[in-house]
């Protein structure tokens, strides 16, 4: 391995190579593509949440430019099946057939020279709909007698699960707190929405689909199924992509519809999602409901957790992750980083008349962290102990590693209590408590909150095979090619859309081969050029593609060593380092080795490996049950009791991501994730009315945190290596977004204790919810003990 001070290898804070083009506005996104003869598509979308289609009126003038389900005969619907027992399958046609199940569902596809003209056509199409009663809420949908979305099912439950482990022994615990907790439906809101450009390449007889996608190979597989085309007849290109967060990891009905259109219309077609479509018709996520009971002894030691969790899955199961990704994960990850002896969890994935719930950064973890961490604070109040001390008593300890928890999650390494101690020290809890007692001059209240989570990442075959969803990750492959001038091309099937992988994967290659990262190009996002991969999701890319790049670069090093040794006339003691093949008595550069392989083969040894300086290898960690990164978050907030406004005064993240390939890039991941977590905690909410209409159709109604809402974040890194992965890396991409709602809401509730308010148990903690919690606290009979709390021990 090259020296750690080279400034380019694993661990270096190398500047991001891709930023030169991205920051200068020279990136190439789907909406930047200009193909000759390209026309624009606008969709007629359902204005109703639940309806039968009686007719679709297409004005004579627009015939031939408007397409409906009838035209798409032969196109198969999207079916995202889970193999879990009892899962019910939804059938999602690209364009609605017979029935509509959510506002924004595609009904007709309109084509014109410009998007504005296409919208004119769409506005002229008349829908004759028979409105049906809507399921606008998951609890309503679960109840008997609710309207049915998929009549054949008999109910609205995609999947029900039940796990139980010794819960009986916890039931007589001295402390027992029960809370009903809810998280809002959210939208993911990457700065670039989805977008598709499709055309038929007549020379290659191939459908070419450019899509803002995280998982181009999976899109290709999905399109192959729906369109009935061989994989070889489809090429999916994912160019520069402006943020994914999970939304760009699913197969869209729009992709299927435009794919079909490009095969039939004779010209390229384009659809660029606008923000209203994004908010109301597609990018929904996160909506959970919990009834959770925590059992503990008087010292705050957890004796058990009992939970009923419901997830609002929306109308359709999304491909490839399915409609039960969230709820089924809730059951397995709710215990978080805590070690306790008894557990029970039932979950329901409920179909509602809303767009399908999609996996958003953190996936189910943000919800379970919120539910569990609020419950732990309630236990702390009941026990009269500082909340972080309750956590310290229950966190898995370093000497237990590797550790199998109550749901058989295998924790690879780490010192969780140390992360929490560092976060609590950094916010100076004692000083905050003093300030809190003194009260602020302007009447605002101070509160401090903590939350701890673990992030299982890069989980592979052994985890996903049991789920039986359309996508099970196996070995990850990478191709490397030493070019004739000594540069390196890396080809990977994952996709970088903000993560900086064009830099960090080059750093991995540099670590092995010592080639300057300026001469290493990372090629990704094109099924024609890259190895098949499930793509970028689940914080897997650095573990999986990073491991594959390292493994392939070692193979290149072996091949180069063979040639170099021949050139150096050395039999043994030959290594690749710093871009050279170094022997006992001299060296030859990789550039020279490459030049001879490609341009002067007459100088090669007779027994040379005919594979040359291009290789593909596959990689899987020694255990594929996932890496466990984790963090403790600590937030200090003020709450204005007159307005319900919250200000974050201090925010500390003590994070352990194993070996950090580029700590600067990791910091960026954490900043972005926490900003989203602040949105979840305080601002973001997509409400629906009782007829299933989404009520936040623009960014004036759907509030995202901006620069003044995200404080200076303080990050403390720990680096406990994973024993199972290349370099000891762990996946860290989602963690930032997991803990903030829990830490901030705990801080708010800590602040509100001084007023005797009831707890805020619903995200986001809006001013209205805070003011109502204060008002309800005042209405409580004076004799009644505050909900879940008896005050601190003094």
């Amino acid at each position: 391995m090259s020296k750690p001070d080279s400034g380019q290898g694993v661990g270096a804070r190398a500047l991001r190579k891709e930023d030169d083009r991205l920051l200068r506005g020279r990136g190439q996104f789907v909406a930047d593509l200009r193909l000759a003869g390209m026309k624009d598509v606008a969709f007629v979308r359902s204005p109703l949440a639940h309806a039968r289609i009686r007719g679709i009126g297409i004005p004579e003038a627009h015939r031939g430019n408007v397409f409906t389900a009838k035209d798409l005969a032969g196109v198969k619907p999207i079916r995202a099946v889970s193999g879990l027992a009892g899962f019910k399958v939804s059938v999602q046609p690209a364009l609605a057939e017979g029935k509509i199940r959510h506002v924004g569902e595609l009904v007709a596809m309109c084509v014109a020279d410009t998007r504005a003209a296409a919208e004119d056509v769409a506005a002229a199409v008349r829908l004759d709909l028979e409105e049906l009663p809507a399921v606008h809420d998951m609890l309503q949908g679960r109840a008997a007698g609710a309207p049915l979305l998929h009549e054949g099912w008999g109910d609205n439950i995609f999947l029900e699960t039940h796990v139980e482990c010794d819960i009986g022994q916890a039931l007589d615990a001295p402390i027992r707190v029960t809370r009903e907790i809810r998280t809002a439906r959210q939208c993911m809101a990457p700065i670039e929405g989805r977008g598709v450009v499709a055309h038929w390449d007549r020379r290659l007889e191939q459908l070419v689909v450019y899509s803002a996608a995280q998982m181009p190979h999976i899109v290709r597989t999905g399109l192959s199924e729906c369109l009935g085309l061989d994989h070889g007849k489809i090429r999916v290109v994912s160019p520069d992509v402006g943020g994914g967060f999970g939304y760009k990891g699913i197969l869209l009905p729009e992709e299927v519809a435009l794919g079909w259109l490009a095969m039939h219309c004779g010209h390229p077609v384009r659809w660029i999602e606008d923000r209203r479509e994004h908010l109301t018709a597609s990018a929904n996520c996160r909506e959970h409901h919990y009834v959770i009971t925590g059992y503990a002894d008087r010292d705050g030691r957890l004796l058990g957790i009992d939970c009923e969790a419901t997830v609002d899955s929306g109308a359709y199961s999304s491909y490839p992750f399915s409609a039960c990704l969230e709820a089924a994960q809730v059951a397995s990850i709710l215990p978080g980083p805590y070690d306790f002896p008894a557990y029970r969890c039932r979950t329901w994935s409920v179909a509602t008349n809303k767009c399908g719930i999609l996996p958003y950064r953190g996936v189910a973890r943000t919800g379970v962290c919120f539910a569990l961490e609020l419950t732990l604070d309630a236990i702390a109040r009941e026990a009269g102990i500082e909340p972080h001390e309750v956590r310290l008593k229950n966190l898995v300890r370093p000497e237990q590693m590797p550790f199998d928890n109550i749901t058989k999650k295998h924790f690879d390494s780490g010192d969780y209590p140390e992360a929490l101690r560092r976060a609590v020290d950094a916010v100076d809890l004692a000083a905050v408590r003093v300030r809190q007692r003194k009260r602020e001059a302007d009447g605002r209240l101070i509160g401090v909150g903590t939350a701890v989570y673990c992030e299982q990442a890069a989980h592979g075959t052994s985890v996903y095979a049991g789920w039986g969803i359309p996508m099970v990750p196996g070995y990850e492959q990478a191709t490397a090619r030493l070019t004739p001038d000594g540069g390196l091309e890396l080809r990977v099937g994952v996709h970088s859309h903000g993560q900086g992988m064009e830099t960090t994967l080059a750093q991995v290659a540099h670590e092995i081969l010592g080639i300057d990262i300026a001469k290493i190009s990372v090629i990704h996002g094109d099924t024609a050029f890259t190895p098949y991969s499930t793509g970028t999701w689940g914080s897997r890319s650095m573990v999986m593609a990073g491991g594959a790049v390292a493994s392939t670069c070692r193979e290149i090093a072996r091949r180069a060593t063979e040639i170099g040794a021949w050139l150096l006339k050395a039999e043994t003691g030959v290594v690749v380092r710093e871009g050279k093949v170094i022997g006992p008595s001299g060296s030859v550069t990789l550039e020279e080795v490459a030049r001879i392989w490609y341009l002067r083969p007459q100088d090669l040894p007779a027994h040379v490996n005919p594979g040359g300086l291009e290789a593909t290898t596959g990689y899987k960690p020694a255990r594929d049950s996932g890496t466990f990164s984790y963090a403790a978050h600590a937030a200090v907030v003020t709450v204005d009791p007159e307005t319900g406004a919250v200000e974050i005064l201090d925010y500390v993240i003590a994070e352990d991501g194993g070996k950090l390939v580029n700590p600067m890039v990791v910091d960026g991941q954490i900043y972005g994730g926490v900003a989203q977590g602040i949105g979840t905690a305080l601002y973001e909410e997509m409400p629906f009315d009782s007829s299933g209409q989404p009520l936040a159709s623009t960014l004036a109604d759907y509030l995202l945190p901006g620069p003044t809402e995200v404080p200076d974040l303080r990050i403390i890194h720990m680096e406990t290596l994973s024993p199972y992965t290349e370099f000891g890396v762990k996946g860290i991409g989602e963690g930032g977004a997991i803990a903030p709602p829990a830490a901030i809401t705990n801080a708010i509730n800590d602040a509100l204790r001084a007023l005797g308010a009831i707890e805020v148990l619903q995200s986001p903690a809006t001013p209205r919810r805070i003011l109502e919690a204060i008002a309800q606290g005042k209405q409580r009979p004076a004799s009644g003990a505050p909900q879940g709390g008896t005050g601190e021990r003094s």
């Binding site: 998007r115 504005a116 919208e119 506005a123 209203r276 319900g644 601002y683 004036a700 509030l703 945190p705």
Partner: protein, 279 residues
């Protein structure tokens, strides 16, 4: 989110503008900064036949200053006021309000006249200028007329403009040196529309005490003689004399019943009054 088709004209004098506005058989909308109209066009919430861009007309950018008022043309931007590129007769009140309108990008384009004519209850100027006692100068085919700001807005997105009329300018009275004012806005985050606005002006030399409860779901509640909010005795000190009960009764009268909304309105007004008292 692309507008429905429309015709576009950009006259460069008032006569040309008035002629276009006479197009009786057409639905005509005027475009100044476009910071509200632009999104509404894109969402197809408004679909005019003719869009008349009024930003090339020098008269609508005019600024006049005399001893008792400043007149600002309708196309003066929020940023012009924020940056004091136009004179201020309010002892810093208007620049301070302007600074907190939406985001800088919006302030660079959004105009004083446009904001008033759009009449969004949550906007800053309809409330603040009502408290200041400003007047709207209206121009139409048949001549000019003047309407106080608090009578100009007649409902949600509704104003006292007759067909063919437009906001030409706003007349802002010069406050006395000793005038005290306060303006407090409650919004979910920086740049968002207000949930509640409180505004108060106490200009003793001119015998004026005005207050506004704004960002209601309808027109602002304007107290053109606000003495009743202070038990009839504002001289005792605004903060001290303030009678929250009187403000609460005004909310009752306006039919505002949501407890959270009421609280925010009362807090905004109280904070505006405290601000004025400390000036």
């Amino acid at each position: 989110m692309k507008p429905a088709p429309f015709e576009y004209e950009r006259p460069d004098d008032l006569d040309g503008l008035i002629a276009l506005m006479r197009s009786e058989d057409l639905f005509v909308k005027m475009l100044a900064g476009g910071q509200s109209l632009g999104p509404m066009l894109n969402l197809r919430l408004v679909q005019p036949d003719l869009l008349v861009d009024i930003t090339a007309i020098p008269e609508l950018k005019r600024v006049e200053e005399n001893s008792d008022a400043v007149v600002l043309g309708a196309c003066v931007t929020h940023a012009d006021i924020e940056d004091r590129r136009v004179p201020d007769a309010t002892g810093g009140a208007l620049p301070r309000v302007a600074r907190a309108i939406a985001y800088r990008a919006v302030r660079n384009r959004g105009t004083l006249g446009g904001s008033l004519a759009h009449a969004d209850p949550a906007a800053d100027w309809v409330s603040c200028l009502a408290a200041i006692g400003a007047e709207v100068l209206i121009l139409g085919a048949s001549g000019r007329r003047t309407v106080p700001v608090d009578e100009f807005m007649t409902g949600v997105f509704q104003v006292a403009l007759e067909p063919g009329e437009l906001v030409e300018a706003v007349r802002i009275p010069r406050l006395s040196r000793g005038a005290r004012w306060g303006f407090h806005k409650i919004a979910r985050k920086t740049g968002e529309m207000a949930q509640a606005i409180g505004a108060v002006l106490h200009d003793m030399e001119r015998g004026i005490l005005r207050a506004v409860i704004g960002a209601t779901e309808s027109v602002p509640i304007v107290f053109s003689d606000a003495a009743a909010l202070f038990g009839g005795n504002p001289e005792a000190g605004l903060a001290k004399a303030y009678d929250a009960g009187a403000a609460a009764r005004a909310l009752d009268d306006a039919g505002i019943t949501d407890p959270v909304g009421r609280q925010l309105h009362l807090v905004a007004l109280k904070r505006a009054i405290n601000q004025a008292a400390q000036r």
